[in-house]
């Protein structure tokens, strides 16, 4: 235990420290290089721009935390489908009420999550293969129901971009905190850490993993609404981009892809890191190709550093 710090705090610093350090460095760099865009008054707008990526990263996290190769690569296309359905309902169906569109988005997301969860945990297809299947299905489905971009989004939804995007993110944080006070989160970490031990301890391993997919799906629904708020329309091609970048954000935020480690806070930090990196490089007029190189380099570096950091603890209980 380091000094007066509680072990829990020390542990989360260890876990999130790297993502947080990058966050601080990139934030300072952005403020210095691009003072107009990063003026404190504009931080609300920036949050709105980062919100869909944060949402996508949050949606990817629970399944990864559940371990045994758990991953949901259909997050991006699922966001695309929800985005398309919501705008189609508004433009062609005349449904504008948030009391209808929000439940539709969340239920659609949860439904997709349930299908992924069923394939991965009950049928026991490898998660990456199962969700690759849904990735392709959802991409095609979205383009079928919405071949070209369509707008606009309802007024209330567009006003949810900018400063107000903290509202859905805040609700997610609150719900996750609530979840941490139920047996589920502890069981999720246990299953991710060691599923055989979890089974022997009486945890319903399949049920917990399935629920992780459904919760991820709910978060996909929320992320898709934040995306819709940001772009103010539906674009059948925008969703797919989010899958890989969200997984990168999750890894950067200290969530172990082997499961059992990290949490939603880490995923959010990782997403903000990626967003800041993007902003910084765009400020330098770097091409989008180089941008991808930068994401990849930072990700690999982060994962290597975290592995080095974990090595001494591994040895101590070997």
């Amino acid at each position: 235990m380091s000094g007066s710090m509680t072990p829990a705090l020390a542990l989360s610093l260890r876990r999130y420290g790297f993502g947080l350090a990058i966050l601080v460095v990139l934030l300072i760099a952005n403020v210095v290089m691009n003072p107009a865009r990063f003026h404190p008054a504009a931080w609300g707008t920036l949050l709105g721009m980062a919100a869909p990526l944060i949402g996508a990263a949050l949606a990817s996290a629970p399944v990864i935390m559940a371990g045994r190769g758990g991953i949901d690569i259909s997050v991006g296309p699922a966001m695309g489908l929800v985005n398309a359905v919501v705008i189609l309902l508004f433009v062609h169906g005349g449904i504008a009420s948030p009391w209808l569109l929000w439940p539709v988005a969340l239920l659609l997301g949860a439904g997709i999550g349930a299908i992924n969860g069923f394939l991965a945990t009950v049928v026991r297809i490898q998660p990456i293969v199962a969700t690759l299947g849904t990735y392709l299905i959802l991409t095609g489905l979205t383009l079928t129901i919405l071949p070209a971009p369509l707008g606009p989004a309802p007024g209330w939804l567009r006003s949810l971009s900018g400063v107000w995007s903290f509202a859905p993110l805040g609700v997610i944080a609150l719900c996750w905190w609530g979840l941490s006070r139920t047996p589920f989160l502890g069981q999720l970490m246990a299953v991710g850490s060691d599923d055989r031990a979890a089974y022997t301890a009486g945890v319903n391993v399949t049920g917990v993993r399935f629920l992780a997919y459904v919760i991820g799906g709910l978060l996909v629904g929320a992320a898709a609404m934040m995306l819709t708020a940001l772009i103010g329309s539906a674009d059948p091609k925008v969703g797919t981009n989010y899958t890989m970048i969200a997984i990168a954000a999750v890894a950067l935020g200290g969530v172990s892809l082997a499961g059992g480690r990290g949490g939603l806070i880490g995923a959010a930090i990782g997403a903000i890191d990626i967003f800041l990196l993007q902003s910084l490089l765009t400020a330098f007029n770097v091409s989008t190709y180089v941008l991808q190189v930068a994401y990849g380099a930072v990700l690999v570096l982060a994962v290597v550093l975290m592995a080095l950091q974990d090595r001494p603890t591994k040895r101590s209980h070997a």
Partner: protein, 246 residues
């Protein structure tokens, strides 16, 4: 004393061609399982825990009713609790804290108005910490900060928190220091006196001779000898392990 119950195995065949056998375990007794490694005692314990299948019937008879144990969920429901042998690969969660490692099997016990109360969880943990004399820093420290013996005590606390009727222990003192062993022996005797049925697999003959009321020795996946009272001598156990007449 607890409810009148017996935990039975009938016509159990641990390997094709092995002789079927029956066993009855009753509350208050500590039964030892011995044998050379891989001679069926480990499999027997896992079958009794519902973690492994074998031809035959395992059941818990209680107040005139028979509850078959066909799988792990049945065992769980009847509070037949198994503590695995290899605590590193199937016991502890190295990423979780001591407190969470303790509470993972019994989260419902900590619910207050639907939500988990940390206070309730800590109180439960402190009860077992004292009873098992767990030497640990803060309950929030990772479990890997503990010595092997104390990790084993946390695992035992996890199992005991389920309030078992039958406790199946797979080599519980493996890699545990002598002082801790004696704490565990005293605990096992107390639990038996309180009316729990204990079945202990041990790789050390001295241990089962010291601790158990009755001893089942396995050889070639069948029961090679059953010893109790005066007959429980290490020569007899060794003879049975190697399949010689004592």
């Amino acid at each position: 004393m607890a409810e009148a119950l017996t935990f039975n195995a009938a016509d159990l065949v641990l390997r094709e061609g092995a002789a079927p056998f029956r066993q009855v375990f009753t509350p208050g007794e500590i039964v030892g399982l011995a044998g050379l490694d891989g001679h069926g005692q480990d499999r027997f314990l896992r079958v009794m825990a519902g973690l492994d299948q074998a031809p035959g019937r395992v059941s818990l008879e209680m107040s005139g009713k028979s509850h078959p144990i066909a799988g792990f969920r049945d065992a769980e429901r009847q509070r037949i609790v198994y503590v695995p042998r290899d605590r590193r690969s199937t016991g502890i969660f190295p990423d979780l804290s001591i407190l969470d490692n303790f509470a993972i099997a019994t989260p419902e016990a900590d619910r207050r108005f639907g939500l988990i109360s940390r206070k309730a969880r800590l109180a439960r943990y402190m009860h077992w910490k004292e009873r098992l004399k767990i030497v640990a820093p803060s309950p929030d420290a990772p479990i890997t900060a503990l010595s092997g013996g104390n990790q084993q005590k946390v695992l035992l606390a996890r199992a005991l928190a389920r309030n078992p009727r039958v406790l199946l222990l797979n080599d519980p003192t493996r890699g545990v220091d002598v002082a801790t062993r004696h704490v565990l022996y005293d605990l096992f005797r107390e639990l038996a006196a309180e009316g729990m049925a204990l079945v202990i697999l041990s790789s050390e003959i001295e241990e089962v001779l010291l601790l158990c009321n009755r001893l089942i020795v396995f050889r070639d996946h069948q029961v090679s000898a059953e010893l109790s009272g005066e007959a429980m001598q290490s020569e007899a156990v060794i003879a049975a392990m190697f399949g010689r007449a004592a």
